[in-house]
């Protein structure tokens, strides 16, 4: 489903020098697969997710998604593609504070050009255990509950891939496992592939496939060469 080839990304620093971050020769995710992306802080995990989501365009290489190369699409086309096919959950600040739980999920359906299906939004919130909190604003929900709303929203458009960037890192240990289970179960039910970034070994060890970015990334070898 997702195939990355020779993806390179470097940032230009304020002093004008370039800082190479990524040089990924090959990275693939199959439909419905669940895997963990691990790596040290600052190694470029978030940057890689942004590239896969089409938020950031790579300097070189291809990001092929079921045959569509995101790296060749315009920004607007990437936005549209993301709206339809990719769900995203962050560590914090997923929800817009002015919108209720239900509205946040509906918001997730508002940018893909199809009609908003409010009953699906209700169903998803019910599925993540918040069926009775539809009209609550994020500020009145616990961090774990907020993350569950974020999961429901990320799945709202029936995406093919869910990107989760340390989704449980801000939650206390007891709820962490609940939210993680919820993410994995719902992805399985909805037949959505899951690419989850985490620092926590306790999370990583539950996955069959764990990719270490340091092993994928050859940026340091190139720089050393």
């Amino acid at each position: 489903m997702l195939k990355l080839r020779d993806v390179r990304k470097s940032f230009t620093l304020p002093d004008g020098s370039t800082l190479p971050i990524l040089n990924v020769e090959r990275f693939e995710v199959a439909a419905g697969e669940q895997l963990v992306l691990a790596g040290q802080s600052g190694s470029g995990k978030t940057t890689l997710l942004h590239i896969i989501a089409g938020i950031t365009r790579p300097d070189a290489g291809s990001v092929s998604f079921d045959g569509t190369d995101l790296a060749k699409l315009s920004e607007a086309a990437r936005d549209r593609f993301r709206a339809r096919h990719i769900g995203y959950v962050f560590q914090t600040f997923n929800l817009l504070p002015g919108f209720s739980a239900l509205e946040n999920v509906v918001l997730g359906m508002s940018f893909c050009g199809t009609k908003v299906d409010e009953s699906r939004a209700r169903h998803l919130l019910d599925r993540v255990g918040l069926g009775k909190r539809l009209s609550h604003k994020p500020a009145t929900l616990s961090v774990g509950e907020q993350q569950r709303v974020a999961v429901a929203r990320a799945l709202a458009n029936k995406p093919k891939l869910l990107l989760a960037d340390e989704p449980t890192a801000s939650i206390d240990a007891r709820n962490q496992q609940q939210v993680l289970d919820l993410i994995r179960e719902t992805c399985r039910e909805e037949k959505v592939a899951l690419l989850l970034v985490t620092h926590a070994p306790i999370v990583a060890e539950q996955f069959e496939r764990v990719e270490k970015l340091e092993e994928l990334n050859r940026v340091n070898e190139v720089a050393a060469r």
Binding site: T46, T56, R80, R82, Q91, L107, S110, C112
Partner: protein, 468 residues
């Protein structure tokens, strides 16, 4: 969820800041509305109230004072002219051929601040208060003998003359007697609708005129009672607040003869004076108005004034510029309120950056984000506009009484002066305030532009990295 709803939520979320922004916009718009409407109404009233006559003749002095006095019942009293001069306008007089109607007007008294206009009954039969609109008496009848007899009233029976009335003492006695029996139907008045409401006078009531055109005049001398015989239907003109009385009765009131002497029968002509003559010229004589006014103004006795021209000069030289100035001030308040919108949206840009990034991660395009910010600006401006519109009209409604007192212009809560936009066929009438709508939309666009650019430039990747 539509972009409009997202914009609305964003405004709601910034509660107090949004309310304050809307409030300042509302104040500016309210002021613009007040200035536009009040000026529009004054302008329209003063430009169109000619009262069915096109020329006023009065004693030499300030033409504007003469117009304000006769048409609007405002301002200082003007110099009177002799009755003989008035007679030149009658059919057998010098100007008779040029004139269709000439109605005498005597001013100088008031009742509870309502000016008393002494005139002839023809005032209400010869003139229309607006094109095609004749005066109607709602209750009672016109003053004067003809109207009284027409409504079925009888002349009072004459008291038999005293038999032994041949010495001086008896003559003096008779004088005294006559003082109590004035000629019939002369001490009568017809009052404007507003004057009736404000004084509470009804048909059949009597009132005592006070000397002076206003209540504050030093000479607060009270006259003999005058009887109300009729109440005019509302006309929407300054005449609504005036009291009209029979000129024959007026001349008999104390102090209204030229010499100041006391008279009991109809006042001799050489003792009579008039403040003004309202003239409608003969439409069959070409340039009648020009000829008559030129002749009068070249003489030493009086002046002839065209009220429409006089008022136009007043509006163009005084009222117009003052209104323009007020409008500029009000416009500046609106602009400042617009800057308030920029500040309000800009201040929230930091928290917004994250929200924008989240929406972008959900697939919102830059264009959608820019649209949301623009819509926010537009909604704030329009909400302010609507509040300002209501506030403005509320202010107009509240100040209506004051304006009525000061200018005789009637203005109400729902007053919409119209603007005539000439078209190929006919003209389009739009409320003047409607110009506010495109102006506000343009302002909102201008004001939304800066935060929209900031929103457009938001680096999603960086904003998301900061959030995680």
């Amino acid at each position: 969820m539509s972009l409009w709803k997202i914009a609305l939520r964003s405004i709601e979320q910034r509660g107090i800041a949004s309310v304050l922004t809307i409030l300042s916009m509302a104040l500016g718009v309210a002021l613009v509305v007040v200035v536009l409407v009040v000026h529009g109404v004054i302008d329209k009233t003063f430009r169109t109230t000619a009262g069915g006559y096109e020329m006023i003749v009065g004693g030499k002095g300030s033409p504007l004072d003469l117009v304000l006095n006769t048409v609007y019942h405002l301002g200082r009293a003007t110099e009177p002219m002799s009755w003989t001069f008035y007679k030149e306008f009658l059919p057998e007089g010098k100007y008779g051929g040029y004139v269709q109607h000439a109605i005498p007007y005597c001013l100088g008294d008031n009742y509870e601040g309502h000016r008393i206009v002494a005139t002839t009954p023809e005032m209400f039969t010869s003139f229309e208060f607006a094109p095609g609109e004749t005066y109607e008496i709602g209750a009672g009848r016109n003053f004067g003998q003809a109207a009284a007899l027409a409504s079925g009233e009888k002349l009072p029976e004459r008291k038999p003359a005293k038999v032994l009335a041949d010495d001086d003492d008896a003559a003096a006695e008779e004088e005294h007697h006559h003082h109590h029996a004035a000629p019939p139907f002369v001490n009568e008045a017809v009052i404007g609708a507003l004057a009736a409401r404000q004084t509470g006078l009804k048909v059949g009531d009597s009132f005592k005129p006070t000397h002076g055109v206003t209540t504050s005049a030093e000479d607060g001398h009270e006259h003999d009672p005058v009887k109300v015989v009729g109440i005019l239907k509302p006309t929407g003109t300054p005449n609504d607040k005036a009291i009209f009385m029979n000129i024959e009765g007026f001349f008999l009131l104390d102090g209204h003869s030229k010499s100041g002497a006391h008279h009991h029968g109809p006042l001799p002509e050489e003792e009579r004076e008039v403040t003004a003559v309202l003239v409608k010229t003969n439409p069959e004589v070409q340039m009648a108005g020009m000829l008559v006014s030129k002749n009068i103004n070249e003489g030493q006795v009086a002046m002839a004034v065209f009220p429409v021209a006089e008022i136009r000069r007043l509006l163009d030289t005084t009222v117009g510029p003052v209104s323009t100035l007020l409008l500029i001030v009000a416009g500046m308040i609106v602009v400042v309120a617009g800057i308030g919108i920029i500040v309000s949206i800009y201040n929230s840009m930091n928290e917004r950056r994250k929200e924008i990034a989240v929406m972008r991660s959900l697939g919102a395009s830059r264009f959608s984000i820019v649209s949301i910010v623009m819509m926010e600006s537009l909604l704030l401006a329009l909400a302010g506009g609507v509040c300002g519109f209501v506030l403005g009209h509320a202010l107009i409604g509240l100040s209506g009484g004051f304006l009525l007192d000061k200018t005789g212009v009637q203005i109400s809560f729902l007053q919409f002066p119209m603007w005539e936009i000439p078209l190929a066929q006919g003209a389009l009438l739009v409320p003047i305030e409607l110009v506010l709508l495109p102006a506000l939309i343009m302002l909102a666009g201008l004001v939304g532009y800066f935060p929209a650019v900031a929103a457009y430039r938001t680096d999603v990747s960086r904003a998301l990295s900061n959030a995680t």
